[in-house]
């Protein structure tokens, strides 16, 4: 893994041992869902932020001996949109680009410190106003398992 490469704008290919991040839009709740999956089976999600989903996943597996380890992020980073990211800045920038492509508009504060997006949308960030809203991800929502710990 190379944090240096990512700081130079070269994302790594997806890592099979890393946690997967999926961002979806919930039509029912009218909000973003930050879902994390591991090995295609473990999942946890939050409507508030990625860091809450990550913390929820860690707490859900606090005591078990599953392949998931709480240092997975430090060791393998996070997969998102086909690439692997191992720094907050690189992941934040990728998330902002992804959401911007889907008509989200971000405040100067968020754009100035892009890792803030990992804490969720800020008050000044604007969700798309178009109706009806569509799911951001082609992946059906059913593939995100109900989490043990729901934010």
């Amino acid at each position: 893994m190379s944090a240096e490469n990512q700081s130079e704008g070269q994302p790594e290919p997806k890592h099979e041992d890393a946690i997967d991040l999926v961002i979806e839009y919930s039509d029912q709740r009218q909000s973003l869902l930050w879902a994390v999956e591991y090995a295609g089976s473990l999942s946890c999600w939050s409507e508030r932020s990625l860091q809450e989903a990550i913390g929820g996943c860690a707490l859900a597996h606090m005591e078990d001996d599953s392949p998931y380890k709480n240092d997975s992020i430090t060791e393998y980073g996070i997969n998102f949109n086909g690439h692997n990211y191992n720094t907050r800045d690189a992941l934040g920038a990728a998330v902002i680009i992804y959401l911007s492509d889907r008509s989200y508009r971000f405040s100067g504060q968020t754009l100035g410190e892009q890792s803030l997006i990992l804490c969720g949308l800020q008050d000044e960030d604007q969700a798309p106003a178009a109706e009806p809203r569509k799911q951001l991800q082609a992946q059906p929502a059913a593939t995100v398992q109900p989490a043990f710990y729901v934010a």
Binding site: G55, N86, R88, V150, A151
Partner: protein, 378 residues
Amino acid sequence: MTVGVGGERLLEAPQQVWRGEAEGELITALFAGKQMWVAASSRGRDEAETFQLTYLDFKSEPLPSLQAAKQAAPAFARAVLGHLQSLITEAAPTQPEPKPMSNPTNTDDTDRTNECPEDAVALSLDYDPAKQTLVYRLAFGGTSGAESSHSLKAAWGALMFAHMTDDPSQSPALQDGIRFEGDHYSTPETLAHALADALCERGFVLSLDHTHDPTLILSGLLPDDRAPRVQSVAPTQQATQPESAKQPATPIDRPSKGVFGFEAGADPYTQVMFGQHAQHVPAWLYVQSQGNGTVLFVGASRSTGLTWGGTKTHQFMLGELIARPHFVVESDGFAGHGISGLARADHLDFVEAEDRVVLCDPLGLVATKGYNHNMTWS
């Protein structure tokens, strides 16, 4: 071993002091925090009245007088507790450990502090009454930390992101558990119960969701959770402080009799809507139709508001009940148990009954929150 708020109150109440001596009242006393009562009975016109002790669902032999029953009570309590103890067998060695904790001999909710790994993350809670904000603060290694005003999960995620590019061996890991107020927790369930107890001790009134499933507290407070009304709540002790240095628990706010105006501890909105003595509390109910236009129900609540400030053993209310279900399920699987038997049943058995039908689920609790897998009831 720690005791919950409800159990603590019962253990701190006067023990082995008999109450209810007046005509028609049930005569009761607490033994080891559990209620014992005396019932009088006579089998026939010519037979003398006898007195029978009841403790933890066990009944004594009939005793000739009330005084004899009181004299026999301590020995009877010991006999019941001893019998219950004898019913517990050691865990079979081949059985898997239900909780692979770092301390395999631990039978308590917590690992002992002296068993706690030194590099375990320490959690503290701070409540700012002015901003009505609860802050979850994590400290790791004495040099780094993270905090969130939303939830412990968010704070943990922030801590992990803060160490994202570190050497994995030097980053925080939940396998080492979490230290909180001098104790060590290595399962989310025990940690969540400790958080719920800590919040209750600080005057929070938790919603029905959190009362039924404390693990949800890891996701932070819900809109229905009520923050304390006290003027100020001091920050919780740092996790490294000894147990003895804990602040005394905030006394439970119980309204006194004859209070005029809003009752202390009650919700003014509820009282404006429904009257001075109305109580809005989390609760559960089992309901059984009697077939003649009436229903029987039994239930419980953690809220002491439903005693209306009374101090005697029982209170009887005649009035109105406004039920606001978070979900309702029904089943025929427990027919014949009697509704009073259901009061002591494991609610999870009922909620997971094979013929279960969800009559309403407005919050999506049954449908989406994994209750089939992770529901714990108080």
